[in-house]
Amino acid sequence: MSEQEYVPKSKAGKWFNDRLPLLSLASHLTDYPTPKNLNYWWTFGGILTFCLLTQIITGIVLAMHYVAHADLAFASVEHIMRDVNYGWLIRYIHSNGASMFFLAVYIHIFRSLFYGSYKSPREIIWIIGLMIYLLMMAAAFMGYVLPWGQMSFWGATVITNLFSAIPLIGDSITTWLWGAYSVDNPTLTRFFSLHYLIPFLILGLVVLHIWALHVPGNNNPVGIDIKKPSKDTVPFHPYITIKDAFALLLFMIIFAGFVFFAPNVLGHSDNYIQANPMVTPAHIVPEWYLLPFYAILRSVPDKLGGVILMFGAIFILFVLPWLDTSKVRSAVFRPIYRQFFWILVIDVLVLGYVGAMPAEGIYLVLARVGTIYYFLHFIVVLPVVGYLEKTEPVPLSISDPVLSGSADYSMAKKDNEKI
């Protein structure tokens, strides 16, 4: 990526770098030309990396004290909270860290939707990102089962039972997942094993995500291709690192607010009751970050249909780069899409809200309307708006103002190619 070949100054450095070009990589990462107009919505990549590392480090320490056994798990969590030095801090960071992770990833995803970061040539970055998101949901779900409280147990029962909706082999698959004839000790031990594995898979995908990002370079609020390096770019270090650090600190203040002053507000009180297969909680609800999908699942009267729609809601995002027909990336220059973007945000929030409510009456109606709109947005609105929308003039570069009259996007692109 960097335009000039990097040569280490010291002889030893050169010797090492010729054999393993780690120093070249470091030089690439610090010099990486980044659009200078990135706003604070772009700081969530760094924040997410911080979240992942926080979860891995606190998780490793928790695993030293946790016991993955149906009879002992709940007590071992209380042991961590009471007897392990700063165990309460480590556990609260880990449990609230999951919520913070999802908060950041949702902002990151919606930023991508707003500024068209998923569009050519960044489709692979987007798809790897979605794979990370899927793994995050799997890790979070399994992690929530580990304390073996009532919501852990019944959440696991509801989610694993979804697979029984598959025709013919569904029941066998569910039994295979459980390792027993109900959610039981074998389920807990395998969830623990997978919960420890998945973060490292995510870490690997994060490397690919960043690698794929460094090929075309960052998108930016204007959404135009920029020449790199140029007057439109700044080196990643120190300009972006300091800005990311500042945003991360603000994020950590909110994070600390939850950990120290409201550590259980995002969880469910029933999870402080030990799992009891004989007593079903009045309302089984997943953690807040899975609620929109839970609402979609419950909005369909048929179980298989609900499962298909729920997974469809995620998998439709994989083809998003080909559903969006607009050539203009950033919603800043797309007056119609901009409106629909905010409607989608509200739609997802409404789905999340009704997901926490009982599936009846007005909530069920809202869930159905929300679900239908969610799919309409991707299947109908995006392709149609892309064709019909009259976009606003896109500037040729970040530094240059819009040329009067002539500067539509294709012109800008041609000009850029000429340069």
Partner: protein
């Protein structure tokens, strides 16, 4: 920015909608607990009285299996003196063993022992209480929606059933309990116990004290959590100011407007 206002309006209306809906049930009484808020601390005397209520009233049915007697002397808790903790622990018979002959034996409790449970197991506890298991109280405050307010409200919420409501044998009416039916009888009455510190043992006083004690039992780290939290956030705020100023300076080289 207009979009954000819309967004917050919707969030706000959803919240209000939610509050209206849950108003159908009786909300627990809101008590101004000393341990709420950013700098909240437990009232030491109330914790000690609360332990007395637990020990003399609740402990005959409710276990607290995750607490040890030593916890009663630790900072941030009731902070009984070392001698008092030893005396409290020694007042319980603990089953230990097996000894060299393979026999189990009983001995006086030590501070390192867990609280002795009133029943050998959950089934025995349920059988002795009309089929309803008296829940373990170690994390009870965290395990109930409404937390301390809810526990306190249930303790003072017993009343005669309204006309038309019939109760089975061994079931009591409580206006704050979910479903209003509770198998625990009203165990608190004025002057039931004699507080060691001479405080008048009214039902309200005992309910508040024991709820304070249970809140500490559920969150023994609360005081040090609050203290650490204030320090951590102050540190983060100062550091963000420094980083913000550095950022301004660095970015002034390319673009004064960031």
């Amino acid at each position: 920015m207009k979009k954000f206002k819309l967004f917050f309006c919707i969030l706000l209306s959803l919240t209000i909608f939610n509050t209206l809906k849950s108003a159908e049930q009786i909300d627990p009484i809101k008590v101004d607990w000393s341990f709420k808020g950013l700098l909240g601390k437990f009232d030491r005397a109330s914790l000690q009285r609360g332990y007395q209520v637990y020990n003399e009233v609740c402990a005959s049915c409710h276990s607290m299996q995750y607490l040890s007697y030593r916890n009663l002397g630790e900072p941030g808790g009731p902070e009984f003196s070392e001698e008092e903790v030893k005396a409290i622990a020694a007042g319980f018979e603990v089953t230990d063993g097996p000894d060299a002959q393979g026999e189990m034996f009983t001995r006086p409790g030590r501070p390192s022992d867990k609280f002795v449970s009133p029943y050998p197991n959950v089934n025995a506890a349920a059988a002795a209480n009309g089929g309803a298991y008296p829940p373990d109280m170690s994390v009870l405050v965290k395990a109930r929606k409404g937390g301390a307010n809810y526990i306190y409200s249930v303790l003072v919420g017993y009343e005669d059933p309204p006309p038309g409501v019939t109760l089975d044998e061994g079931v009591y009416y409580n206006k704050y309990m979910i479903g209003n039916k509770i198998k625990m009888p009203n165990n608190l009455s004025d002057g039931l116990i004699e507080y060691a510190d001479g405080t008048e043992a009214t039902v309200d006083q005992m309910a508040k004290d024991v709820t304070t004690f249970l809140s500490w039992a559920a969150e023994p780290e609360l005081e040090s959590r609050h203290k650490t939290g204030v320090k951590v956030i102050l540190y983060l705020v100062l550091l963000s100011i420094l980083v913000f100023l550095s950022m301004k300076k660095i970015w002034s080289r390319v673009n004064p407007e960031i």
